[in-house]
Symmetry: C2
Subunit: 157 residues, 2 copies
């Protein structure tokens, strides 16, 4: 089962390595991780998507709460939340295919952020399945590169 | 100086902890990190934004290339590239302020992705300074929560 966990940490050297080590040390696979500073530059917010057994996750949560630099752990398993990720997709284009690609970009409310004679870079945001869907639609044209952020999550209300 | 480094890694247990450990072990501060699976589920792509001396980064690059699970390291220092990040911002609203907030959201070509009686969640993408600018504009209304992905980068051409 996939879990989305949000962790607020103090910006100390090695905190990211320690958190990541907790997961890998217990054989818990991290599918994606985002970490960035919060408004207060002394703290960073991590969002981790991980797969594994519920009881092991319970243990990891307890261990996380014991780390001195961890301020808060939220598990979005059961809560109502909005989940988003972003992907940059560079797709092959030619004067023949460009129009069709732009149509697809518009349908997905994505944005074209770079263009050259032979390729276009598209920015798309949304839940995972939307991003998978646009990737599938663009694959026949030839995808040169994809860079995804991984999920960020926020509780509703 | 800020560096944006993109790393393609094989999905092995502990690879994230090892990469993060390399940076922290040399006193190199990671500002943001994104890691997510590529189209091939055996590989993940990391984007790291880090601050520190150029010569130490040179050493880190060499060490990264020695890790067996690291396939490719690209440093966007000098190359032309597009850099984007995404932020979810939850801002206090009331029936009086909602209209003004929606105007700001539209100017930044951001999207409202959730709404309740007392708050709104906004999704914004762009370079760092655009995200900082919308945060600054929304601050007077009262920001309840921000979740940022950190940068992803892609070479132009």
């Amino acid at each position: 089962m996939k879990h989305t966990i949000s962790i607020l940490v103090r910006n100390q050297f090695g905190v990211l390595a320690r958190v990541a080590g907790l997961f890998s040390g217990r054989g818990y696979n991290i599918d994606s991780l985002c970490v960035a500073e919060t408004q207060d530059p002394d703290y960073s917010q991590m969002t981790i998507v991980a797969r594994g057994e519920d009881d092991i996750l319970e243990q990891i949560n307890k261990q996380l709460n014991k780390l001195v630099d961890v301020v808060k752990v939220a598990d979005f398993r059961e809560k109502e939340c909005v989940i988003r990720e972003m992907a940059l997709i560079k797709v092959n284009t030619s004067s023949q295919t460009r129009g069709e690609i732009i149509q697809i970009v518009n349908v997905f409310r994505a944005k074209t952020i770079d263009i050259s004679h032979k390729s276009m870079t598209v920015e798309v945001t949304g839940p995972e399945n939307k991003i998978s869907a646009i990737i599938e639609m663009l694959t026949p044209f030839g995808i040169k590169e994809i860079s995804r952020t991984g999920r960020v999550a926020m509780a509703r209300k």
